[in-house]
Symmetry: C2
Subunit: 229 residues, 2 copies
């Protein structure tokens, strides 16, 4: 059913940069295109915004369609609106970035489905459209935001050893952190709950597990607390 407007309109899409944290690496979920343009190239998951559908809802829908995962951290990144970013016509894309827990089985499943795969940020293939630029913007946003907002926890399982949290910051910030100073600082914030549990299946002394307490964090924020690494 065709639709007619008095004035021409750019098309409107969403693209999602989905970050996950592997044992060693920061990874991104990419989709292999099977249609022109850029058939065969890897690209960010995304698609068209339906009329009557909120843009963030469209992003979440596309994300769920591509990765099988809902209920993830999703935040608007930037809107890319250069007229030549799609060779076919003027397509404006609202980009989002998502943080998912790779420990989540449903995310794992998406990997085998329809030409989707996780790529290390250090080894990204040639991408379609202006997706290199979008990915770069997302990476920068993640790097700066992780320092003053507790979004890193979105990449970890609900219960984690402090070592995993430190490793996360080291990978994202690309520098080493001092173990004692890190523990001192993160514990002194009072946003982690120390659990009565320890790691299992490790070939050395098992570490204590912690949980991020969002309620404590929200309470502290109201009192003027500033999270900062």
């Amino acid at each position: 059913m065709p639709h007619t407007y008095k004035y021409a309109r750019p098309a409107l899409t969403v693209d999602c940069v989905v970050f996950g944290l592997d044992k060693d690496d920061l990874k991104v979920l990419l989709i292999q295109r099977d249609l022109e343009p850029f058939a065969g190239r890897w690209a960010l998951p995304g698609g068209f915004v339906n009329v009557g559908e909120a843009v963030n809802v469209a992003a979440r829908r596309e994300l769920e369609e591509e990765t099988g995962v809902g209920r993830v951290f999703l935040e608007q990144l930037y809107t890319f609106g250069a007229p030549d970013r799609d060779p076919r016509e003027h397509v404006v894309s609202v980009a989002y970035y998502a943080l998912v827990k790779l420990s989540d089985h449903r995310v794992q499943a998406a990997t085998d489905a329809r030409h989707a795969a996780w790529f290390s940020m250090d080894d990204i293939p040639k991408l379609a459209f202006d997706h290199p630029k979008i990915l770069k913007t997302a990476h920068e946003r993640l790097r700066s935001k992780v320092r003053y907002q507790p979004i890193g926890f979105e990449l970890l399982p609900p219960r984690f050893p402090l070592r995993a949290l430190q490793h996360l910051y080291e990978v994202i910030l690309k520098r080493e952190l001092d173990k004692r100073n890190f523990r001192k600082k993160i514990l002194s914030m009072g946003v982690l709950e120390e659990l009565d549990e320890i790691e299992t299946d490790v070939a050395h002394r098992a570490a204590r597990l912690y949980r991020f307490e969002k309620r404590k964090y929200n309470r502290l924020v109201k009192e003027g607390f500033n999270f900062e690494i």
Copy 2:
């Protein structure tokens, strides 16, 4: 000349939050609507994005049409895409915020033109659409960004006394700053050039004028310098 598409498309607009700094106040430029919906209401300047026109170019064009000023600081803020934000149909709007020098004569001129006026941020009239939300988002962005990026200078004339700079931060951050600490800090950054000029036409001791040295700032940034107030 009508345009037809296979699938329905949301309309795409830009809205601009234009901030200026009065002697005392942070102000925003608003336009009074003369068409329905919201005829008579005040609203943010903005308009439709043309096909083939980059979104940021559209924002700059609309801004120039409404305020008569080009070459201002303009940055993308956020994209608002709720389907009910315009009562007529689904209109997605990419919002920008601009910082202008009210000392600029061309900006002053815009005030008398076609129902445009500057409003103090403490005294905003009822606004059309979801513009209160956009304005609030812009205000928060300005408040947080001004602390770690030297964008405040965009609101001042090229040559200014330190007092004006401090006042700017006090107005935007909504708290008083210590004069000695402020001067010490900002001067120690080494991004201001001390001029051989002083204020004129003041009824008291005239203050020395300074200029923001963007080149020095850029050089320092390359060396890892972080601007922060």
